[in-house]
């Protein structure tokens, strides 16, 4: 492959094409909406959104293969005076966001059947994804904050999208309130860091800290911890997780899948970049605060709390919501072990791989819940009894998702969890390794409950699967196939993630 931007085959700004494709699609949806405001033509809207999402995923995949922004083609591409940066990690995450978005928009075609304001739904979703794509390439605290808000504000509206559903509206409001509080913590943290260093651009902050001119370690330390809080909110990590179970449960199921996969991954990419570029451990340790310790504490707390709470839930969607918190804990391992890691890029890469696999398997699981909601199946584990007799293919896919989430070798989740474990043991982070193993074992318990209900329990005959919605089925099966393919074809993913992560060190 020839290098694209660095060899002037394409102009530099095209490196942002995945994000631009999303933004353009959002505007196209606005145009469609303004021409025909009462449109119920979900085929057109979902189609346009899906095409935009797939274009974005395709471009980012292409760029990844071509090596845009990778060290082998001349390194990261900085745009707008270094406010944005496109490198392997940014493109990797853009690919994750766009893939999740594509799955969700395809599924929404059936889920939103007969709902008003569909154009708003899709354009909000695309705008949120645009925000996430910008988060992946944010290279200064200012753009980080703005793109975080661009991702968050549409999310609040999306959670509350079912206006006549009390649960949806309540969840949206709670999400908004907690989000506002967390954003204020985040922006206050940014202001403290700015006060201490006088810089907003990430690399410049690191330079100032390294030069020893930073104002006061206390101010800087408090600022850094508040930024930790900000990203903890976006990744739904303890103690900023309270919004997550409520929002995921109340929101329309495709939105839950979108938020718990893509939005979480966006929080992580922001964290990866801010902490490795602006506050590298070798510079910051001893000056202000060893954030590795903070992330270790958060990781252990998050995975333990998420999994323990998930084990006692009665409804499938809420169980998935808590399991999603647990997975945030796993992904945090990549950051937590950096200080002691023998191979830092492998550790961070392992987290990136986990988020990619998670994007497919978790979205797929939520979309299966969406399918169940579409059929009018109830919400509890018992309501899923005997579902496999009526929908064996979808239940097979769901089984793949759940076992892959647990880390069994039936989907890519096995490799990513294994690599996280290798990263943790490689850094001699035994607490994290033990927590990972214990929690994975516990998670198998509650995931198996769903599988058992679907395949082993007798159906009680209270529901009848009358139709097989094309869009939802297509999305669930695609996600299932991808999850499985990631098991057998993990090599390229791990190589790309490790390469991309290596650029940050």
């Amino acid at each position: 492959m020839i290098p694209l931007q660095s060899a002037d085959v394409l102009p530099q700004w095209t490196a942002l094409a995945p994000a631009l494709a999303l933004a353009t699609t959002a505007l196209v949806l606005f145009v469609i909406d303004s021409i025909d405001p009462d449109s119920m033509d979900s085929g057109l809207l979902a189609g346009v959104s899906t095409i935009g999402a797939l274009a974005s995923a395709g471009i980012s995949g292409w760029f990844l293969v071509a090596g845009t922004g990778m060290s082998r083609t001349g390194g990261a591409i900085e745009l707008f005076g270094g406010q944005l940066v496109v490198d392997g990690m940014a493109l990797f995450f853009m690919f994750v966001f766009a893939s999740v978005l594509a799955l969700v928009t395809v599924a929404s075609y059936d889920y939103l059947e007969g709902q008003p304001h569909q154009a708003e739904y899709y354009s909000l979703m695309l705008l949120a994804t645009t925000g996430m794509a910008l988060m992946a390439s944010a290279n200064s605290l200012a753009t980080a904050f703005v793109s975080l808000e661009l991702a968050s504000l549409p999310s609040f509206a999306l959670v509350a999208f079912l206006k006549n559903n009390r649960g949806s509206v309540e969840a949206g409001l709670k999400y908004f309130l907690i989000g506002a509080l967390s954003s204020s913590v985040f922006v206050y943290g940014i202001s403290l860091v700015y006060a201490a260093t006088g810089r907003l651009q990430l690399a410049a902050i690191a330079d100032v800290i390294a030069s020893g001119e930073a104002l006061d370690p206390g101010v800087l330390g408090v600022g850094i911890l508040m930024i930790v809080g900000g990203v903890a909110y976006k990744t739904a990590s303890v103690p900023f997780h309270f919004w997550a179970p409520e929002a995921y449960e109340g929101a329309p199921a495709p939105v839950s899948g979108f938020l718990s996969s893509a939005s979480k991954a966006a929080g992580f990419v922001l964290a990866f970049r801010i902490f490795t570029v602006a506050f590298p451990l070798d510079v910051i340790t001893g000056v202000a605060v060893d954030w590795g310790v903070a992330f270790t504490a958060l990781a252990v707390l998050t995975m333990t709390l998420g999994n323990f709470a998930a084990a006692t839930q009665d409804t499938v969607k809420r169980m998935l919501a808590y399991s999603s918190i647990g997975h945030a804990g796993y992904a945090l391992i990549g950051l937590a072990v950096l200080s002691g890691a023998a191979d830092q890029s492998f550790a961070l890469g392992a987290s990136m791989m986990h988020l990619l696999v998670y994007g497919f398997m978790n979205t797929g699981a939520f979309l299966f819940v969406a399918l169940a909601e579409y059929w009018g199946v109830g919400r509890t584990f018992e309501d899923y009894n005997g579902l496999a007799t009526q929908a064996p293919i979808a239940c097979t896919a769901m089984t793949v998702f759940l076992f892959s989430l647990a880390g069994l070798p039936i989907g890519g989740g096995f490799w990513s969890k294994y690599f996280l474990l290798v990263a943790a043991t490689g850094a001699s982070a035994w607490l994290l390794a033990a927590a990972l193993i214990v929690n994975s074992a516990l998670s198998l318990f509650y995931y198996s409950r769903v599988v058992k209900a679907m395949w082993i329990e007798e159906p009680d005959g209270s529901f009848e699967v009358s139709s097989y919605p094309t869009g939802l089925y297509a999305a669930v099966i695609t996600a299932g196939v991808m999850t499985f393919l990631l098991l057998v074809g993990f090599g390229p993913v791990s190589a790309t993630a490790t390469d991309a992560a290596a650029m940050l060190f």
Partner: protein, 701 residues
């Protein structure tokens, strides 16, 4: 790929893929197809056979292409400092030869099954042909496996298929129990094999059989790495492992070799894990032919030949292989003497013949071992199919005392069976003579060269020749000669072309296949007609680059294992002739004894003359009894104790943990009150705690 010339190697994966496709077709559509899916299997095996032959010709240099070939088909996962886990194809003279044997026998067994299963109106044919195709697929993929992990995977699949096929008639009592026994006994051996595989990976980081080139650099095989270890150039990974186990390189190589040998002993039915094989006769007879000649049982010894470069480094392992083989050869042959059912006799003869192959491999006769593997595959398949033909004729009565006089009624079967019997007994010039003679000769000269243990094994093997001649001709005489002893034998059921054709092909081969390596004649006349020897010697490519050639093994045997030859009776030629004469004489003596006891129109049982020995032999030396005792009175109490430990302590802890976690999970749930101001308060509290703790530690206040 453009620019490279097309060679038969490009099709090698299809050798296994075709039967796999046939498996899927028979499984899914067999019910709706004519002949229950047999045709899919026959065409697939025909294709595999054609490609195998083309591969053999390419290796031989007759068709264009390199004389050996390696390709990585699928890499499981890549990572940093991880093991080399992949599937790959490795073709050298050994695997090319074995591919032809396996696909030929499988093909003929498929054809024969038309007569044995379809014409007899069996039900469940789709299941039968699906399992048979899967069996061939597993074995073929096992044969061309380029690493021990892949070999292990297909080794296990072979075991699974044998389970399915032995228990094919699952509605009766005996077959499922025999299938279970075969599965459990071989699994017991495979347990050691698995540990051995893990040990090899942990020591060498790779399971490759041959040195290969990947991405422009050479990846060394584990036998090559082991060889370096013996020369004192221990790789870092291996030296860590040696430190952990605290052994010298040679001792550790021996341990690993013996662990892998566990699987071999189980699959190749060597003492003491041979007990499953006679019971496995409960399966359909074509399946027995496949199991004994080309697939399951052959897999064990093939593995030893495949990683011979590893065993050649350990004199202890070689001696154990040779002794096991020699002992099994004699032990099984003695039990074959008193059996009454035709397939039982054949079953014990298989155990005994594989004993010879092990004896050859163990005593440094690599060529002899492979040679006997080849000839045995042909004549044992023939004998089983012949027995199958007899069984069809006898309406599924297998007792030889109910037969007699079938010679005139079924001439094709008789002459084919006779050809196989002469080969089995080792009568010149049938194939078994040449190979068995070479086995014994190699054991003798290497034993005389300073390894008395080989001489012990050789003596047992030699004695077994007599028994082999005896039971073989007892079987032939009782079955085909004399007067018919029952009404069924008076008027046997006819067999069709699909039975006769495989018998005819194999009958001719059994008589002639020995000519590929007539070592005594070659030595006498100085003609280079020991083709197999030349063949396994391989090309320079095999020897230098891949490191699996015969000459390489010979050097290793001589220098590392200290196996050298000496000629006790005059020179090489006289020793060879004397050895051949003695083994031929013993075989003829055995056959002659059988003739004197059982010829004539009305033979009678002579086994009672053996007295107490008869009881011992009839009960197979009480092997089953002591294994059942081991299982029931030793293993079971141990398992009970382990179960008590598991239930009481482990489960107790697990249950404790889960109740604690559910309880605390419940607490966590209560924190989630649903009141958003509580959340905000808790969130702020959490952040404050974080700030205070880090502030105090960092001394910010």
């Amino acid at each position: 790929m453009a620019g490279e010339t097309f060679t038969a190697y490009a099709l090698v994966p299809a050798i296994a893929a075709l039967p796999f496709a046939a498996f899927l077709v028979s499984l899914l559509f067999g019910r709706y197809m004519p002949k229950g899916g047999a045709l899919a299997g026959i065409f697939a095996m025909g294709g595999s056979l054609a490609i195998s032959i083309a591969t053999l010709l390419t290796v031989a240099g007759i068709l264009p292409g390199d004389p050996a070939y390696h390709e990585t088909i699928w890499q499981f996962a890549t990572g940093i400092d991880t093991f080399d886990l992949h599937l790959g194809v490795y073709i050298d003279p050994l695997s090319a030869l074995m591919l032809v044997i396996v696909s030929l026998i499988s093909f003929l067994v498929f054809v024969f099954s038309l007569g044995y299963m379809n014409d007899e109106g069996e039900t469940g044919l789709a299941r039968y042909y699906a399992s048979l195709s899967l069996f061939s697929f597993s074995m073929l993929a096992f044969v061309f496996a380029d690493n021990i992990l892949m070999a292990f995977m297909f080794f296990e699949l072979v075991g699974l298929c044998s389970f399915l096929l032995i228990g094919f008639w699952f509605r009766e009592d005996a077959p499922p129990s025999a299938a279970k026994k075969a599965f459990l006994v071989t699994r017991f051996g495979d347990f050691f094999f698995l540990i051995g595989v893990v040990g090899i990976f942990a020591t060498f980081g790779t399971g490759l059989f041959a040195n290969v080139t990947r991405d422009g650099s050479t990846v060394q095989s584990f036998p090559a790495l082991a060889e370096q270890m013996m020369n004192g150039q221990t790789p870092a990974m291996a030296s860590d492992m040696l430190d952990i186990v605290g052994m010298s390189p040679q001792a550790w190589i021996t341990v690993l070799g013996l662990l892998v040998l566990g699987g071999v002993v189980g699959k190749s039915a060597q003492f003491p894990l041979h007990t499953w094989l006679p019971d496995a006769m409960e399966g359909p007879t074509p399946v027995s032919a496949l199991i004994h000649a080309a697939t399951m049982v052959a897999a064990g010894v093939y593995l030893v030949a495949r990683m011979y470069g590893f065993y050649a480094l350990s004199p202890t392992a070689l001696a154990i292989i040779a002794l096991t083989g020699g002992f099994t050869a004699l032990f099984a042959a003695s039990m074959g003497v008193v059996k009454q059912e035709i397939k039982q006799v054949l079953a014990y003869s298989t155990i005994s013949q594989y004993g010879y192959i092990m004896l050859a491999l163990g005593s440094g006769g690599y060529v002899a071992g492979v040679f006997h593997l080849t000839t045995h595959a042909v004549f044992k398949a023939l004998l089983f199919l012949g027995a199958g033909s007899v069984i069809i004729a006898m309406h599924h009565n297998e007792n030889m005392w109910d037969m007699g006089g079938l010679k005139d009624k079924m001439p094709v079967t008789y002459y084919a069976f006779l050809s196989g019997s002469l080969a089995l007994a080792g009568i010149v010039p049938f194939s078994g003579f040449w190979s068995k003679d070479e086995v014994l000769f190699e054991a003798l000269i290497h034993g005389a060269g300073g390894n008395p243990l080989f001489l012990v094994a050789w003596a047992m093997g030699l004695l077994a020749v007599f028994f082999t001649g005896f039971y073989t001709f007892r079987m032939v005489l009782l079955t085909f000669h004399g007067e018919p002893r029952t009404e069924t034998a008076e008027d046997p059921h006819g067999v069709r072309w699909n039975v006769k054709f495989p018998l005819a092909v194999l009958g001719i081969l059994a008589a002639t296949v020995g000519f590929i390596n007539m070592a005594p004649i070659a030595k006498l006349t100085n003609l280079h007609i020991d083709f197999l020897h030349t063949w396994l010697g391989g090309s320079e490519l095999v020897a230098e680059e891949f490191g699996t050639g015969l000459h390489h093994y010979e050097v290793l045997l001589e220098e590392v294992a200290g196996v050298s030859a000496a000629y006790p009776i005059g020179g090489e030629v006289t020793t060879m002739l004397a050895s051949a004469a003695v083994s031929l004489g013993l075989a003829l003596a055995g056959a002659g004894l059988a003739w004197s006891l059982y010829s004539g129109p009305e033979p009678v049982e002579h086994t009672n003359k053996l007295g107490g020995v008869k009881t011992l032999l009839m009960h197979n030396y009480y092997q089953d009894e002591y294994q059942v005792w081991l299982a029931r009175d030793v293993t079971l109490p141990l398992s009970r104790a382990a179960d008590r430990f598991d239930q009481g302590i482990i489960d107790g802890i697990v249950n404790g943990v889960s109740s604690v976690s559910l309880l605390s999970g419940d607490r966590v749930r209560r924190i989630q009150t649903g009141v958003v101001s509580n959340y905000a308060a808790l969130l702020t509290l959490g952040l404050t705690i974080l700030l205070v703790v880090f502030g105090l530690v960092g001394g910010w206040f």
